[in-house]
Subunit: 65 residues, 2 copies
Amino acid sequence: MGDAIRARRHALKMSQEALADASRINRTHMGEVERGKRNMSIIAVMAVASALGCSLSELAGDAKL
Amino acid sequence: MGDAIRARRHALKMSQEALADASRINRTHMGEVERGKRNMSIIAVMAVASALGCSLSELAGDAKL
C-alpha cells in the first residue's frame, strides 16, 4: 500500500509533509506508511486516499490488494 | 465496510463465527466490524477479504469507499 500511496503522491508532485497534513496523519507515521512499516487503520487510509483524490478501492487496486 | 462484509458473507452462506475464525479475528470484534462499530486495520480487512474470496479493492468497491 505504501508504494501505491507514494506513486500517487509523486504523480501529484505533493510532498510527504503536505500529504500527512492533508490526511491529518503524523508526518513521521506517513514516512513509515510509505515504507510499509505501519499497519494503518481503514479510516486513516481512506483519509490518505481522499487527500490523494482517489478512493480506497482505487488505491488498493493500485497496490494489487 | 461492515455492510459489504456482511453482504458477501451472506452470499457465501457463511456464519459470522466461521468468517471470524477464517480471518483469525475475534468473534466479538467481527460482530462489531459488521455493525460498523470497529475501525479495523488494513491487514485485518485484507484477512477478511481473503476469507470471503475477494480482494480489499473489491470489498472497498462494494462499500463505495
